[in-house]
């Protein structure tokens, strides 16, 4: 809940037509140290106040959608890693679920819970980066250094699950490549026990900090109707005051069995965005806890993949000894498993909002067309409207609180 503290002089009166004022042009980016990522904004400034902004993006355009048309389904998982690289597992799982929808694969209950653990860890990792960076932009580097130590714990868990830290390539179509190891479970439990204290500590550094509040409350506020018109999703939309969350609206992966709330803000300003992300981390922690409990209660302790031999690699000893396993192994590795023609859209709640995959298959070994609905790309276009009339330093803060990830923006 935030109220504008300085309503009278927060918004600068823009220069009216005919007034004799000299405007200057400031080129912010693409390699400006204050912007986290490579975006260019050509700002027309009236002193310290922004009159208008013109954006240029595409500085790391990597042609994901074209690449995906030439890659078998499994090789696309590695591309999704690099979309929003702060929360790769969510992207991986989203892609796997899209393919499962196309193939009609039903995943076992335990797989859903394992996926939820991975996805919620990723959400926490994503929000940590965003919130720590908001802190850095207000001049508080301490929170960043503190919380990044604990972010490493999440990386450790990833490593136990899939062997990689950042670009995880986690999971397979129909489940996981292997079960969570003993060490992974131990690390998850340790994280659940240890992280709340650290998160609390991080919160206490910023949430009621006078300087932080003065800097962020009212900064870059955006009304809800504009946010909807601009296609905002995720924490940025929720900060404007609408409790829209794909996990609840269109539940996937058994999210309907979990008990969690959707935090919302009221003013859509930087403080609200910060707080929504902060609360979401707590909710994610609770979801992980529930998922671990549910896993413990399940009679089935070993299933980690659906029974789809055409899509999940058989164990090596079977490949060496059984004809059938060898055939499946060969088909999967060569990307020759059969895919029905058809088109599906599936979306997951990514770190930044609705991450959608529109997959059109013509029955070939690669997609005919794959379009990523990238939340960053969609909401970043509202930036000029958000920063109109506010100060340059607040625009930087607004940008970092929107959490624009260059990889997702430019695809």
């Amino acid at each position: 809940m935030s109220t504008p503290m300085r309503p009278d002089h927060w918004q600068h009166d823009l220069v009216k037509a005919g007034e004799h004022k000299e405007l200057n042009v400031l080129n912010l980016g693409p390699t400006h140290p204050a912007t986290h990522g490579i975006f260019q904004n050509v700002l027309t400034m009236d002193g310290e106040y922004i009159q208008s902004a013109e954006q240029t993006i595409g500085y790391i355009h990597r042609a994901f959608e074209k690449l995906a048309e030439r890659r078998p389904f499994y090789q696309i998982t590695t591309l999704t890693d690099r979309l929003n690289y702060c929360s790769s597992p969510i992207n991986n799982m989203g892609w796997h679920m899209t393919v499962e929808k196309l193939l009609g694969i039903q995943t076992p209950e335990r797989v859903d819970y394992l996926r939820i653990i991975a996805m919620e860890l990723a959400r926490i990792a994503d929000h940590i980066i965003c919130n720590a960076v908001i802190g850095v932009d207000t001049g508080a580097l301490t929170g960043f250094t503190y919380i990044f130590q604990d972010r490493e714990l999440i990386y450790d868990i990833y490593e136990e699950i899939c062997g990689a830290r950042l670009t995880t390539n986690m999971g397979r179509i129909g489940g996981f490549e292997r079960d969570f190891s003993e060490a992974a479970w131990r690390k998850i439990r340790h994280f659940l026990e240890h992280f709340p204290k650290k998160l609390k500590e991080f919160e206490s550094l910023l949430v009621r900090n006078r300087i932080f509040m003065d800097r962020t409350i009212g900064c870059g506020a955006f009304p809800l109707d504009r946010a909807l018109a601009y296609g905002f999703t995720g924490p940025n939309l929720r900060a404007c005051g609408l409790d829209h969350d794909v996990r609840v609206m269109d539940p996937y992966c058994s999210y309907e069995k979990f008990d969690f709330t959707i935090p919302i803000g009221t003013g859509g300003d930087t403080y609200d965005r910060f707080m929504v992300r902060q609360r979401e981390m707590w909710e994610s922690l609770s979801i992980i806890r529930q998922a671990v409990e549910k896993c413990d209660r399940l009679a089935d302790r070993t299933t980690y993949k659906a029974d789809v031999p055409e899509w999940v690699l058989p164990p090596k000893e079977e490949v060496y000894n059984e004809m059938e396993a060898l055939i499946y192994h060969f088909k999967i590795v060569m990307g020759e498993s059969e895919v029905p023609a058809g088109e599906v859209y599936h979306c997951v709640e990514g770190g930044n909002g609705e991450l959608g995959f529109y997959l059109v298959s013509d029955g070939g070994r690669t997609p005919f067309r794959l379009h990523f609905r990238r939340p960053c790309f969609i909401y970043y276009q509202a930036f000029p409207e958000m920063v109109k009339g506010i100060m340059l330093s607040d625009a930087i803060l607004t940008m970092s609180s929107m959490n624009v990830i260059a990889g997702e923006l430019d695809a």
């Binding site: 196309l102 694969i105 829209h244 859209y345 959608g356 969609i378």
Partner: protein
């Protein structure tokens, strides 16, 4: 299997309303897995979206993207535009499609309905060369201004042409 809740009644309502409003505008109407996909004629797409937004509560445009179908199987080469809509109130998603021939790939802009389509249309222009009349600033968005082609069309090569280190005899191409 992950799926959206299928709302057959509302799907039918949407189709019926579109058929009533545009008698020969609806070309095809299919159910793909969990989503109804309605193909309309090119001229009808904009008024159809307006009707869906204003009268049937589709308040949110999820995505808009282009598509390229090369000639083959008795069909001519054509470009497509795919729009996903979402109604928050009814938790209802729907897909609309329209195709256009290669010689005049121009749609009216949708930015008057949802400002969010601004960049999506620029992307469709950048990737496929689909034009939008009335767009406030239609120029390339991800590629360089002077890029000579529309790269996501099927006939454009994916790989970087300047690489010299790839020996085709080693890759069996």
């Amino acid at each position: 299997m992950p799926a959206f809740t299928i709302q057959a009644e509302r799907d039918q309502l949407v189709v019926d309303r579109l058929r009533a409003a545009f008698p020969d505008g609806v070309v095809a109407d299919e159910q793909f897995h969990d989503m109804r996909c309605i193909t309309v004629r090119k001229e009808v797409l904009h008024p159809a979206l307006r009707l869906l937004r204003d009268e049937l509560d589709f308040n949110f445009l999820t995505t808009l993207c282009g598509m390229h179908h090369p000639a083959g199987a008795g069909a001519e080469e054509r470009l497509g535009l795919v729009v996903h809509l979402n109604s928050f109130r009814h938790r209802h998603r729907i897909r609309l499609k329209a195709y256009t021939a290669m010689k005049d790939p121009v749609f009216p802009t949708f930015t008057d309905l949802w400002p969010t389509t601004n960049w999506m249309e620029r992307e469709a222009w950048d990737f496929f060369g689909i034009g939008f009349t009335g767009h406030p600033d239609l120029k390339r968005i991800l590629n360089m201004e002077d890029f000579p082609a529309f790269p996501l069309r099927k006939d454009y090569p994916l790989e970087d042409p300047t690489r010299e280190d790839k020996d085709n005899s080693m890759f069996g191409r």
